[in-house]
Amino acid sequence: MANIEIDKERCKGCCLCVSECPRGNIRMSELLNSSGHTCAEIIELSECNACALCCQICPDLAIRIHASDETPPGPLIRIQETGVSKQPSGDRKQETPIGGQE
């Protein structure tokens, strides 16, 4: 079992890791994190071969693999459950906040 972990507060729900995992071992959860993103989650920790391809593609360094002797860092901050289902947040900027730009 790989010492892999997705930091849900860092995840922006882009799904890139999902398609990158050669084992199909990542999915988008039903969770929104405190910034409103749906989060990726490892389906089956034991299935992970620690190939780190998901880590390579993750734009937000949300996926960590620890050396097996290392303990993973503290618990996640706050995950809020809602009725809102899986929603890739890449979409969420379809409407660009006017002016929020240089």
Binding site: I98, G99, G100, Q101, E102
Partner: protein, 360 residues
């Protein structure tokens, strides 16, 4: 659309549509917040009206494309915001020197440097005194509402042609970004437009023309050219000063503000009057030429001025000069994206009333 034929548009769109209505058929610009709606709007509208939109590779290229397009006879425009306008300074000096008509919009943002994208009025000196080299002047319009932005933009093209002088629309991020209902009135020239006898379009049927800003020989050629420019500036100064006055007749304290700030200051005047304070407002509509008469007048009747500007203090100098330093001038302002509200202007008014016996 409402029954009054008004539509809701952002300031940047209002200005763009006004330009199109006024016959602007060439626009070159480079993206910068908070004026991005201008090139975006133009990129869509220009092809529809048979005009040209170019997203230039830089602000410098854009202003020089304007130089070319104006010389070729087109009504033309560029727009940007503070850092981008700084980059255009050389080009602006050339355009003014060559007496080419065009419209340049500056939707000011916070500075100096990269600053931020909040609105600001800290490019006043650059616009009004000349950020480029040499003795030249831009006609500078400072609209304070979107309907006025619409009208002044149209007028800008006319005055540019009439005086053969670049006109700057000095707006800011608020004016560009806010949305208000505006009526898209048809264009009517505000002055009789002269023939464009400077246009370079090939010398068929006439002598070749030269458009230049270099005056080497004889050694006083450039002095003479400057005399010509100064004469033109004198004429503009005599003819074009615009301003609006609110309740200045009996005012003890006269607020001086322009653009969006003036609009907010109007709110403060209202509050002050409700509180029995005799406060008025002078709002220059042209920042150059500067409407000095109302300030001279007010300097005789009022006790004090209060300048409100979204900058560390630039416009204040022209207020002092226009009023011939006859009365004390208080200041409320800051650069970097500070916005006044009617309330905090009113607070300032109260402080002034408290600390100074206004009527002595």
């Amino acid at each position: 659309m409402s029954s009054q034929g008004k539509i809701l548009l952002k300031g940047n769109e209002v200005m763009s549509e006004a330009a199109i209505q006024a016959g602007c058929r060439f626009f070159a610009g480079y993206p910068i917040t908070p004026q991005n709606e201008v090139p975006e709007y133009m990129s869509k509208r220009m092809p529809q009206v048979g005009g040209t939109f170019i997203q230039a590779e830089s602000e410098i290229a854009a202003i020089n494309m304007i130089f070319g397009a104006s010389a070729a006879g087109a009504r033309c425009m560029t727009s940007s915001s503070s850092p981008g306008i700084s980059l255009k300074q050389e080009g602006i000096s050339y355009i003014a020197a060559a007496q080419l008509p065009c419209v340049i919009a500056n939707m000011q943002r916070g500075g100096p440097g990269l600053g931020n994208i909040r609105a600001s009025q800290a490019d006043y000196f650059q616009a009004v005194k000349g950020g480029g080299h040499g003795d030249y002047r831009l006609i500078v319009f400072a609209p304070s509402t979107l309907p006025e932005l619409y009208k002044l933009t149209m007028n800008a093209f006319d005055y540019a042609d009439y005086y053969r002088n670049p006109v700057m629309i000095l707006g800011d991020g608020i004016l560009g970004q806010m949305a208000e209902p505006v009526e898209i009135l048809p264009y009517e020239p505000i002055v009789e437009l002269p023939e464009k006898d400077f246009v370079l379009d090939g010398c068929k049927g006439r002598k070749p023309r030269v458009l230049k800003t270099l005056f080497l020989r004889p050694s006083m050629a450039l002095v003479r050219h400057n005399d010509l420019l100064q004469a033109s500036y004198k004429k503009i100064t005599a003819e074009l000063k615009l301003h609006e006055e609110t309740e200045t007749d009996d005012a003890e304290l006269v607020i001086a503000a322009y653009g969006i700030t003036a609009r907010i200051a109007k709110g403060a005047v209202k509050i002050a009057r409700q509180n029995g304070m005799k406060v008025g407002l002078i709002r220059p509509i042209t920042l150059w030429p500067f409407p000095d008469e109302p300030f001279k007048r007010a300097a005789r009747t009022a006790d004090r001025f209060l300048v409100v500007e979204m900058s560390g203090g630039q416009f204040i100098e022209d207020v002092k000069l226009a009023s011939e330093c006859k009365k004390p001038v208080e200041f409320l302002g800051s650069g970097g994206g500070w916005y006044p509200t009617p309330d905090n202007i009113f607070e300032k008014i109260q402080t002034i009333y408290e600390t100074e016996a206004l009527v002595d």
